[in-house]
């Protein structure tokens, strides 16, 4: 009994800091409609800054001043970010907003590395609250009790702020109808900046409060962001009270889940989220939100199968690729195989995104499932590579069928967040379930069959698979199924009114995409000979997204080019600099700010005008609808 009460109290204490981070995200989304991926990074920054300040400021007053000051400093950084970056991308598609804020996260990670070094830091304990209070005979840290009180206090303060101040009323009004608030003459710019600053303050405050409890680490940002996504999805985007309820629910689940299923307590979180979303697709207290701007739409020109000339060029390129083993050494061939695997992976995502209009933020899940599926087939059942290469895609398929069943019920930003949450859950299972997956130590010794063990044959194998996969996915785009899928993407209402089921069509697309990603993952396991949980981590998903964006989200298979360029660039970057995340993050932010309609969309907007004038011989004044204007 005492144990349960102690666990319950620990859960409540965790809930408080989770709530602080989550409600900030929720408030920001409510007003600006941006899902701030960088929220976790600010949470982490809050902890780091608080660590430095509390080391210098002493005593009870110094400690608390340090915590609050840390939150305030980080909030100012947040305000600067809002003014410099976010203001430029409020009109951009959701995917780009998520990507840009993820780019910021990457940059912050490296900056933290530069400023505070690579090691985990242990901050001071809160003066006067170092001890523990016995509750039914078990010691409960005094600091935890403080946190338990703090959560509801912050909730109350926010409620007062939102209901009793003019500013709060404006924020709530903007959450319901931004245009109307703007029409009433409220300065939107400063309202958005203010809300963003408040949200970041809360996140940094939540992070700072953690330093007496846990070490300050570089993983804090991505760990918290996944939980925060789960919390706001369950609580309902934009709802503060919903975030509180969900934070308590999730934290208690974790606290008790460890007692029941010590190995895989996170599966519980997944199950609860799944059940909530089936019953209430918009979370406890959320309301349906209008689907925002999708990445493609009017910017897309009608797609055509390859002309004979293009097909011949592609065939020639494949031939050149097939001849590479005559020139390249084993390192070059392993890079080549890695690029080809990236091609399959990127193309699997492009099928889902470009043709299906489903912007997945968790495509790593299916890649990783394929890799683990193949690796476990070899490791546990001692089966040959050929079979493992079948099991890999099947694992990806099963994962996509399970997760997709929930995901396709949602759309837009909910879809993106849910896919990300599922990917994180898959990651944590691989990480926690040590008996099966080897946890952090991974699975070693996943080697190809003898016939494929030389670098050249393995390269040819991946080339063959990549060619078949890309051609098959391209074929699907132009099949009846592909037309139905594009129909659903272009106009779900029209599609339903001509007999096409949105959910079923998207579900099938999701499954196909997951299968192809699983195939890429299986090859990856054999290429590397080992597999670790980080293939399932967020950066893998982001890699795929950037490849698709580079290649052009409005194209059928531009991601093939995107994958080749991106993989070569990142391999080079890794060897050229220690600050690859800073460079990559900066590159992603640049990409989004410079090409807010996607590269192809922005380029065609840039080119369409002059081309049109040239075609009409400069005779007419007619302007065609540019994608930049039309995709709103």
């Amino acid at each position: 009994m005492a144990l349960y009460i102690a666990q319950f109290l620990t859960g409540l204490a965790n809930a408080s800091s989770l709530f602080l981070a989550a409600c900030g995200l929720s408030v920001i989304f409510g007003v600006t409609r941006i899902v701030n991926f960088a929220h976790g990074a600010f949470y982490m920054l809050g902890a780091y800054v608080a660590y430095s300040l509390t080391l210098r400021l002493e005593g009870v007053f110094g400690f608390w001043a340090g915590i609050l000051l840390a939150a305030a400093i980080v909030a100012v950084l947040g305000a600067i970010l809002e003014m410099l970056l976010l203001r430029r991308i409020y009109q951009a598609p959701e995917l780009f907003q998520l990507l840009a804020t993820f780019g910021v996260t990457l940059m912050v990670e490296d900056l933290v590395h530069i400023i505070w070094g690579p090691q985990d830091l242990v901050g001071p304990r809160a003066p006067g609250l170092e001890g523990a209070v016995p509750v039914f005979g078990l010691p409960v840290p005094t600091y935890d009790l403080l946190l338990i009180v703090l959560g509801p206090l912050v909730l109350g303060a926010l409620w007062l702020l939102m209901h009793r101040t003019r500013w709060g009323v404006l924020v709530r009004a903007a959450t319901q109808d931004r245009d109307m608030v703007a029409a009433l003459g409220v300065n939107q710019k400063w309202l958005f900046t203010g809300v963003f600053t408040l949200g970041i303050f809360l996140a940094a405050f939540g992070g700072a409060l953690q330093i007496p409890r846990t070490a300050v680490t570089h993983q804090m940002d991505l760990t918290i962001i996944a939980e925060v996504f789960v919390v706001v999805v369950i609580g309902g985007l934009g709802s503060i009270t919903g975030a509180f309820l969900a934070a308590v629910l999730i934290s208690e689940l974790n606290a008790f889940g460890i007692l029941v299923l010590p190995g895989i307590s996170l599966v519980l979180m997944f199950l609860v989220m799944a059940v909530v979303l089936v019953i209430r697709p918009w979370g406890f207290l959320g309301k349906p939100i209008q689907t925002g701007v999708t990445t493609i739409g009017e910017a897309t020109r009608p797609w055509r199968p390859w002309s004979n000339a293009t097909a011949a060029a592609v065939a020639a390129a494949v031939l050149v690729a097939a001849l590479l083993p005559l020139v390249l050494g084993s390192y070059g061939l392993s890079v080549g195989a890695q690029i080809l695997i990236a091609v399959v992976f990127a193309m699997s995502l492009q099928f889902q995104m470009s043709t299906g209009g489903l912007d997945s933020f968790g495509h790593a899940a299916y890649f990783g499932l394929g890799a683990y599926g193949a690796a476990l087939t070899v490791e546990w059942f001692d089966l040959p590579m050929e079979l493992a290469l079948l099991v890999g895609p099947l694992t990806g398929l099963v994962g996509a069928l399970v997760f997709g069943w929930f995901c396709v019920r949602l759309s837009g930003v909910y879809f993106a967040m849910l896919t990300l949450a599922f990917a994180q859950i898959t990651w944590s299972i691989a990480f926690q379930w040590v008996e099966v997956t080897g946890g952090d130590n991974g699975i070693l010794g996943v080697w190809p069959a003898d016939w494929a063990s030389s670098p050249a044959t393995f390269y040819w194998l991946t080339l063959a698979v990549a060619v078949v996969a890309v051609l098959a996915l391209r074929h699907l785009v132009f099949s009846s199924f592909g037309y139905r899928l594009r129909a659903v993407r272009d106009s779900a209402v029209r599609a339903e009114a001509v007999g096409i089921s949105r959910q079923r069509t998207q579900y099938v697309a999701f499954a196909i995409s997951g299968t192809a990603a699983g195939l890429a993952g299986a090859l990856f396991a054999f290429l590397k000979g080992s597999i670790f949980p980080d293939v399932l981590a967020i950066p893998t998903s982001i890699d795929a997204l950037v490849m698709v964006l580079l290649g052009g989200v409005a194209t059928v298979s531009g991601s093939v080019v995107g994958a080749i360029v991106y993989t070569m660039a990142s391999i080079w970057l890794m060897s050229a600099t220690d600050l690859s995340r800073l460079v990559l993050g900066g590159f992603i932010v640049f990409l989004v700010v410079a090409f807010p309609q996607g590269i192809v969309g922005s380029l065609s907007a840039f080119v369409a005008g002059p081309v049109e004038r040239w075609r009409s011989g400069g005779r007419t004044e007619r302007t065609i609808a540019l994608p930049a204007e039309g995709s709103r």
Binding site: Y483, A487, D490, V493, R494, A497, V498, G499
Partner: protein, 262 residues
């Protein structure tokens, strides 16, 4: 006019919170008949439409198509019963060409997964026949995104006709079109409806269109049907005149002045 009604609407109602959007609406529609549903903005026309098409679940009451109760069916299932519809704001597949839009409609009727067929080649002739019917054959290869709005509306009609429908639901088919285009589109619709014995239910604000083509019309005001009958009769109906020309309830001062002078 044949005896068996194609569409039977019985006591259809829908409320949003305290607002009775549609109240106790009943009517019938026969094959080959053009039935206009008119009324001021906010009268409940679109709600009515979306309940018949399955986009909005009916609050209460019943909708029968060919005698079959379709309450609770999805738009998809209603489509398979032979119902085509157009939307107030045209909904087409913007990333495709005109022909591909119609081909997609045919592709949706195929059974199975549809993984194998090359949809760009399939149903080409059928799609072109439909486009020819509404005079858009020359546009077949045009990207939808480049078309004028009036042509997009015509394309919507083509997509609805591709299903070989028994019943056409057209929510403001001529909205946003140039006057000449409106006359052409509705003339075309009326001709096809007569030829193929399609029942057409349409809403429209343009009274020229309504009086030129409707066989029968209904007037909806604040969710209730206030008049029904042949256009000439409805035109004379005092209640309808009041709704359209105003009965002075809003302009209290003017009404008071009139009463005073009377």
């Amino acid at each position: 006019m044949s005896a068996a009604p194609l569409l039977q609407v019985e006591h259809l109602s829908k409320s949003y919170g305290g607002v009775h959007a549609v109240q106790d609406v009943s009517f019938e529609l026969h094959p080959g008949e053009m039935l206009a549903l008119i009324g001021p903005n906010g009268a409940g026309k679109s709600t009515c439409f979306n309940m018949v098409g399955g986009q909005i679940p009916a609050g209460s009451g019943r909708v029968r198509i060919d005698g079959r109760d379709v309450s609770g069916l999805s738009p998809r299932q209603i489509w398979h019963l032979g119902v085509g519809r157009t939307f107030q704001v045209a909904q087409v597949f913007k990333s495709m060409t005109v022909r591909e839009n119609v081909q997609t409609v045919f592709a949706s009727r195929e059974s199975g997964w549809g993984f194998l067929a090359r949809a760009g080649q399939a149903h080409r002739a059928e799609a072109e026949a439909v486009l020819d019917l509404i005079g858009m054959a020359d546009f077949a290869d045009r990207p939808c995104a480049d078309m004028a709005y009036g042509d997009v509306k015509r394309l919507e009609l083509a997509m609805a006709l591709a299903n070989d429908p028994k019943l056409l639901l057209m929510d403001e088919p001529a909205a946003g079109m140039a006057p000449l285009e409106r006359v052409e589109l509705m003339g075309l619709t009326a001709r096809i409806a007569k030829e193929r014995q399609i029942g057409v239910l349409f809403t429209e604000h343009d009274m020229d269109v309504v009086f030129a083509h409707a066989d029968r019309m209904m007037v909806l005001n604040r969710g209730r049907l206030i008049a029904e009958g042949r256009p000439e009769d409805v035109r004379q109906d005092p209640q309808v005149r009041a709704v359209y020309l105003g009965e002075g309830l809003v302009y209290d001062q003017a009404a008071a002045a009139r009463r005073a002078s009377a």
